[in-house]
C-alpha cells in the first residue's frame, strides 16, 4: 500500500524498515499527529525522548536543525498495516512540546515517562508528574550528563563502606 502523506511540506526521510520518518517543527507537531490520526493511524505505539548531547551529528533532512532533545513518536495504522515515525527537535533552552493526549489518549504514561527520564515538558498534559522516579527526585536520569551510578569494587583487604 502506498505511503500516506499528510502535510507534504514537512521534511521527511525513509529507510529500509519504515517508509516515512517526518520531522515537523514544534509548531506543526501536534497538527501533524492529528492529521495522521485522521488518515487512519488509529493508535500511537510508542513515544520516547532521546538526549543527543554527545551525538549531535545525526542524519537529518534538509532544513531541520539538530537540537539537544528529540521526541520520537511511532504511529501505527491497523487498517493500512503501516508505521510512521515522527521526530521532533526540542531545544535544551526551552524543552517544551505540545502534549498529544487530546489526539492519542494512550500517550499519557509515555509522555510522563519522557518527562521523568529526559525532562521534556509536555504542555497541555493533564498530569505532568514523574512516573517512574520518586516525586522528589532531582534531575532526569536518561540525560547524557546525568552520571551512571556504580557499585565500588570491594577488595578483600579494603576497609568496608562503614
Amino acid at each position: 500500500m502506498p505511503a500516506t502523506v499528510v502535510l507534504p511540506e514537512v521534511p521527511r526521510l525513509s529507510d529500509r524498515l519504515v517508509d516515512q520518518i517526518a520531522f515537523p517543527s514544534r509548531d506543526t507537531y501536534k497538527r501533524m499527529a492529528a492529521a495522521f490520526r485522521d488518515t487512519g493511524f488509529e493508535t500511537c505505539s510508542d513515544l520516547c525522548a532521546v538526549d543527543y548531547l554527545t551525538h549531535p551529528g545525526r542524519t537529518l533532512p534538509e532544513g531541520v536543525g539538530p537540537e539537544r532533545f528529540e521526541v520520537v513518536v511511532n504511529l501505527l495504522s491497523l487498517s493500512k498495516r503501516q508505521r510512521v515515525r515522527i521526530r521532533v527537535q526540542v531545544p535544551e533552552s526551552d524543552p517544551l512540546l505540545d502534549s498529544l493526549v487530546d489526539v492519542y489518549p494512550g500517550v499519557d504514561a509515555m509522555e510522563r515517562e519522557a518527562y521523568d527520564l529526559v525532562g521534556v515538558v509536555f504542555g497541555g498534559h493533564p498530569d505532568m508528574t514523574r512516573i517512574l522516579m520518586p516525586e522528589d527526585w532531582e534531575g532526569h536520569p536518561l540525560r547524557k550528563d546525568y552520571g551512571v551510578g556504580r557499585v565500588p569494587v570491594q577488595f578483600k583487604e579494603a576497609p568496608g563502606p562503614r
Binding site: 487530546d102 522516579m133 551512571v148
Partner: protein, 492 residues
C-alpha cells in the same frame, strides 16, 4: 527499644567492640547505627535520630503522583482517572456528565491497594476512590521496581545487552532478547541463517505457552481457584525444564543474541517438544472443565471489566486485551517477523472485551502456540544456528585452541563488542502481553546510544481506570489480573 534495653545490649558486646574500633565514637555506650553515617546525619545521643531527621528518612510519599481528592484535581486529570478516553469528532472527550464532577469528597473514600498486595502481581500500587463498594476513580502508581535498565543498557555493549533486557519482562524473557536482537540486527543489516530464525520462533512460542500458563495460574488464584494455580505452575515447569536443558537457565536465558542464538538445540529436543505439546494440549481441556464451564468462574468474569475496540485503540492497548475486543491484530500475522508468515495459525479474537474474553483468548492462544510449535519442529531446517559473519559472531571454541588470531578476536568481541552503524530503528514483536517494541539509536560505537523498550504492560496499565470504573471493589483483583501486568517490564 527503650533506653534501658539499649544499654543492656551494649554491655553484652562491650569487650570486643570497643577494642577493635576505639576511635569511632568517644561517648561510652554509643553504638551508632550504620544508617546514620550512610545518610550523613549526625546522631545526637546514643544512636537516636532527631524527630525531624527520622521523618526525612521515613517519608516516601509520592506526592502529586498519587490520586488526589476531587477538590484538588483538575478536570483533565479527573477524566483520565475515570478512564474517559473516547475521542469525539471535534477532538474532545466523552460525555462530561459521565464523570460526576459534582460528587463531593465526603461521599467517597480513597483507599490504597498495594504496592505490597498479593493480588497486584508485584509492586503495583493502585489508589481507588470508592463509593461504598463501587470504584469511581483509579490511578495506578508505578515505579517501585524501577532499576534504570534503559540507562544501564547504554553502558553495556550490544553483546552484553541481551543479558540486561532479558530481566525486564521476567515471564517472557526470550521475547525481550528477541526484540533487542532484531533491532540490533536491523541496524547491522545482517541476514540470519534459517535455523537461527526457526530456533528463535520455537523458543518464543514455548515462552508464550509458559507465560500464558503462568497467567492462567495467577488468574485462577486471584479468583479463588487454587487448583488452577497448582496446575498452571505444574505445566509451566515442563516448559522451563526444556528451557533449562537448552539454554542452561530456567529464566533470564540470554539465549537469543544479536547474530543468532547462543547454542544449538540439545539432542533429542524433538521428543521433549513432542511430550510438552501433547501434555499441555491435553491439559488445556482439563482447564476447560475446571474453569470455562464453571458457573462461579463465569459469574466472576463475564461482563466484568469491559473495554471496547475504540477505547482500546485510543489507549494504545495491544495484545490479548485488544484482541478480546474483536480486533484481529497480531503482529505475527499482520506484520510478520522471523518466519511467522510460513506458519499456519489462527488469530484468536473475542467479542465483548470482558474478563472472560481475555481468559479465552489466552487459553486458545496456548493451543495455537502448540499448533505452531508442532509445525516448527516439523519444518526445522538444518544448518548454522548463528550468523557466520565474523564481525558479529565469536570464532568457535575449537579454533581458539589452535589460532592466536581467533583468541584475540574472541577476546575483542567479548570485551569491546562489535561496532554497529549509525542509525535509529524501531522494531516491534508480539510478546504474550502485546506489542513489545525496541527503539534503538546507535552512534556508531559498540554500545547503544539510546535503548528504549516499549513495554506492553506499561501501556496496557493505562486501561485500568477504564476497566475498573463502575465495577465492584471485589472485581478489581480479577480485572488487574486479566490485564496481566508484569511489573519488571512496567518499571524497567
Amino acid at each position: 527499644m527503650t533506653e534501658h534495653e539499649h544499654e543492656d545490649e551494649h554491655e553484652d558486646g562491650n569487650g570486643q567492640e570497643s577494642e577493635s574500633e576505639p576511635a569511632i565514637d568517644s561517648a561510652p555506650g554509643s553504638e551508632a547505627p550504620p544508617v546514620d553515617q550512610e545518610l550523613g546525619i549526625e546522631s545526637t545521643e546514643a544512636g537516636h535520630l532527631l524527630a525531624e531527621q527520622r521523618a526525612f528518612v521515613a517519608e516516601t510519599s509520592e506526592g502529586a503522583q498519587e490520586l488526589l481528592p476531587r477538590g484538588t484535581t483538575t478536570a483533565g486529570e479527573l477524566r483520565q482517572e475515570v478512564g474517559a478516553v473516547l475521542r469525539l469528532p471535534e477532538g474532545g472527550f466523552v460525555d462530561p456528565g459521565d464523570i460526576d464532577i459534582e460528587r463531593r469528597d465526603d461521599q467517597t473514600m480513597i483507599i490504597n491497594m498495594g504496592p505490597q498486595h498479593p493480588s497486584t502481581h508485584g509492586v503495583l500500587r493502585l489508589m481507588l476512590e470508592l463509593d461504598g463498594e463501587t470504584v469511581l476513580r483509579t490511578k495506578p502508581i508505578i515505579g517501585y521496581l524501577h532499576t534504570g535498565m534503559e540507562k544501564t543498557g547504554e553502558e553495556l555493549t550490544y553483546v552484553q545487552g541481551s543479558t540486561n533486557v532479558t530481566r525486564m519482562d521476567y515471564l517472557s524473557p526470550l521475547h525481550n532478547e528477541l526484540v533487542f536482537s532484531l533491532a540490533t540486527e536491523a541496524l547491522l543489516d545482517v541476514e540470519l541463517p534459517p535455523r537461527a530464525i526457526w530456533i528463535r520462533m520455537l523458543m518464543a512460542e514455548l515462552n508464550r505457552v509458559s507465560s500464558h500458563l503462568m497467567w492462567m495460574a495467577t488468574n485462577g488464584m486471584d479468583l479463588g481457584s487454587t487448583s488452577m494455580m497448582i496446575y498452571g505452575f505444574r505445566e509451566r515447569e515442563m516448559v522451563l525444564t526444556f528451557f533449562e536443558k537448552t539454554t542452561g537457565l530456567r529464566m533470564n536465558h540470554n539465549f537469543i543474541r544479536p547474530g543468532g542464538v547462543a547454542a544449538d538445540l540439545p539432542d533429542g529436543w524433538e521428543d521433549d517438544v513432542d511430550i510438552i505439546c501433547e501434555t499441555i494440549l491435553a491439559r488445556t481441556y482439563e482447564y476447560d472443565e475446571l474453569l470455562t464451564g464453571q458457573p462461579i468462574f463465569r459469574e466472576r468474569t463475564e461482563a466484568v471489566g469491559n473495554i471496547s475496540a475504540e477505547e482500546a485503540l485510543a489507549l494504545s492497548v495491544t495484545g490479548p486485551i485488544l484482541r478480546s475486543t474483536g480486533v484481529p491484530w497480531d503482529l505475527r500475522r499482520t506484520m510478520p517477523y522471523l518466519a511467522y508468515d510460513k506458519l499456519d495459525f489462527d488469530v484468536i479474537v473475542g467479542s465483548y472485551g470482558d474478563n472472560f474474553d481475555r481468559y479465552s483468548v489466552r487459553l486458545n492462544e496456548i493451543r495455537e502456540s502448540i499448533k505452531m510449535i508442532r509445525q516448527i519442529a516439523e519444518m526445522m531446517p538444518p544448518g548454522d544456528y548463528r550468523v557466520q559473519d565474523r564481525k558479529v559472531t565469536p570464532p568457535p571454541r575449537a579454533r581458539i585452541d589452535e589460532s592466536m588470531e581467533a583468541l584475540i578476536h574472541h577476546f575483542k568481541i567479548f570485551t569491546e563488542g562489535f561496532r554497529v552503524p549509525e542509525g535509529e530503528v524501531y522494531v516491534a514483536i508480539e510478546s504474550p502481553r502485546g506489542e513489545l517494541g525496541c527503539y534503538l539509536v546507535s552512534d556508531g560505537t559498540s554500545k547503544p546510544y539510546r535503548m528504549h523498550i516499549r513495554g506492553p504492560s506499561f501501556v496496557n496499565l493505562q486501561a485500568l481506570p477504564l476497566l475498573l470504573r463502575g465495577g465492584l471493589m471485589a472485581d478489581a483483583v480479577a480485572v488487574i489480573s486479566s490485564v496481566d501486568p508484569v511489573m519488571g517490564e512496567v518499571d524497567r
